[in-house]
Symmetry: C2
Amino acid sequence: MALLMIPMTCFGSILATFQPCQTPDDFVAATSPGHIMIGGLFAIHEKMLSSEDYPRRPEIQKCVGFEISIFLQALAMIHSIEMINNSPLLSGVTLGYEIYDTCTEVTVAMAAALRFLSKLNCSREMVEFKCDYSSYMPRVKAVIGAGYSEITMAVSRMLNLQLMPQVSYESTAEILSDKIRFPSFLRTVPSDFYQTKAMAHLIQKSGWNWIGIIATDDDYGRLALNTFAVQTTANNVCIAFKEVLPAFLSDDTLEVRINETLEKIIAEAQVNVIVVFLRQSHVFNLFSKAIERNINKIWIASDNWSTATKITTIPNVKKIGKVVGFAFRRGNMSSFHSFLQHLHIFPSENNKALHEYAMLLSACAHVKNSDLSQCIANHSQGTLAYKANEDMEKNFSLRNDFLWDYTEPGLVHSIQLAVLALGYAIRDLCQARDCQNPYAFQPWEVLTHTSEKIPLQSFLSLL
Amino acid sequence: MALLMIPMTCFGSILATFQPCQTPDDFVAATSPGHIMIGGLFAIHEKMLSSEDYPRRPEIQKCVGFEISIFLQALAMIHSIEMINNSPLLSGVTLGYEIYDTCTEVTVAMAAALRFLSKLNCSREMVEFKCDYSSYMPRVKAVIGAGYSEITMAVSRMLNLQLMPQVSYESTAEILSDKIRFPSFLRTVPSDFYQTKAMAHLIQKSGWNWIGIIATDDDYGRLALNTFAVQTTANNVCIAFKEVLPAFLSDDTLEVRINETLEKIIAEAQVNVIVVFLRQSHVFNLFSKAIERNINKIWIASDNWSTATKITTIPNVKKIGKVVGFAFRRGNMSSFHSFLQHLHIFPSENNKALHEYAMLLSACAHVKNSDLSQCIANHSQGTLAYKANEDMEKNFSLRNDFLWDYTEPGLVHSIQLAVLALGYAIRDLCQARDCQNPYAFQPWEVLTHTSEKIPLQSFLSLL
């Protein structure tokens, strides 16, 4: 790994990374050159601030709420690409990456998708309109992401224009399996059809016949809730309540709806088992308040929060009751562990997300590990000012174990598989072409190779 | 109306309009210049042919299945714009239009949206990537459409990038009211929340307590089915079955699923009332087969097929039973009637849809009006060859009443309101600017004026 250590003491340059996007390059969260560029979409911040201007203007705003677990997913993509580049798989051809922070906003992700589709090596960042994109060459050859199904679906509609392969590491919404709607979409996680079936089976076998369901009001939550409700009803399990929470943290009614949901749970006292299809930040809010109200239940966790450190570090979380979760299969984590142990600061223009993490650590320099997550969350709300100092690099190095604590092995494995699937497809394509030339092939050609079934699990150990 | 009559006898040029898109301009269904350009999205063809190439390439294919009722919607938009241009509303500023045929395909609509967002007066058709689109000037200032909710939603995600106002005349999906997700979306039809409530009320008041539901598997059908199911269950009405049909005609399983649905209806003989949230072409297929099987029920029609001539002209349609429908409010149709009566062929490069209609009429020259719809459907499947001749214009003029028979007054009214809403917003904006200059204002500025509540109904009569 060729990572540079650069001491950063300039206060001005540190604040600059927290400013909203001014030029297209500001918008990139992390990038590294390569013969073949791969795009990445990760919700590294939990929301975009709304503009205070009226009327609202069409501009990308500042993002707040740094999500350590999702930052780690972006690192997993970088690590997987480095693994391939350091292996003989592509025989001298290197993969580069261009990772964007969606800020958990569809519109921001659409802007990133627009940039993925823009013309390669063009002096201006432009997507050309074409009736036929067969010989059009965009900036990237394939996209890893996004995480949230709703964002993945919206982006996929746009990437379809050029049949650009898109591999999600986390989007489980059943509808994404529909090849008529999403012809260029692939994923390394199973559809919710299977997860909800497993949950329904667990509930039936455990003799629980009276349950509640809580889901987010987005394409993921609504679809999962429906599929699950059909499956449990078929098993003669009764659903006492279905509560749907607003999907976006920027929605003012979220807090009220969480309180109403807790009141519902208290009112339906005979319901002991609650199935939760929510995002991590929603579960965090729900559980924090449920503990205050002494609610103690059996909670069935969907994959997207079942292994989240963010949840396990909620103060007094044990009082919430039992959590039974479904999680993705995990792989060998030793290589990623070592990557995190040796992680240093990249040149800040190449990895703004890492740079922001370093600054947040610096601001929380005197906080102990168990309170670090909360300190980072507070400092990344854009409300507190803080000063960086020359200890930043030192503090940063000291906390590599903290990142490891927040790592979700199932997701890291899923991201490794996604990158590897692209790596193998590219290897096949490049057998008869000189892929050091960025014009060697078009994105839609990758798609014909990624759709073949490759036993990726067994190849992972070879890298 | 300055419409030219051009005799067309050249066989070569006639076939050319049936070819797929070769240049960006081929892709436009109808256009007319103006100081302020408005985009339009209509599903004039019912599907896009799939390419026979393997691997599939990212190109816009030929569209087949000419939909007269939707072609009429595009004409209603043209007529509404002409009404405004012929009125004193914008005092010398003219509206132009650029209408695209989505071919009932999200990807085709996304391509059209890309063109809407591309830079004004640029030698090449390019959408520039920007962090801030506040001072970016795209080709069009606002978009009318689309019809189908799923297409409208996907397009809206893209138009959000520039906060371009989008006014739908037909998309009723409840989620489109969500201003966090769809900040630049407006519509002139009520959300399904109200329609499903009215249906549930009708069913309860009629004493029907045992019903079936059939919906399309798309954002419209699934959401309407859910909302409706919640409302009827609250009224103690039992739902015997919920059948969901594939949304796309290109889906091979559609015919099988229609047959299964009919078998379900026959098996559940005690269910006399069936609520149908389907597209017109699906209802057409379902009813045609139901009549063959002697199924006779009470059908509750959603707005999108309740007034469709396509359905009322199915042979022996009376055998299907009773249809109780919900429809949009209609307005005064005399002006549109007169527009249709005086409709002639535009220069073919300006209105390809009208040109195609004229050719289809020519091919069906010797068919009587009652069989014309079927003849047009057969000829627009791309399977039959036919010759145009110099009688085309004559045949065409003779059949203006046929178009009138297919007109859905509620939709025409809704399209008039959509165009008028934009007209009034533009009038307000242009009071202090010279709007004959296409750079006078940006699309997001229109949005701040369209969101005001204007009593449009009463203004319609003034035009």
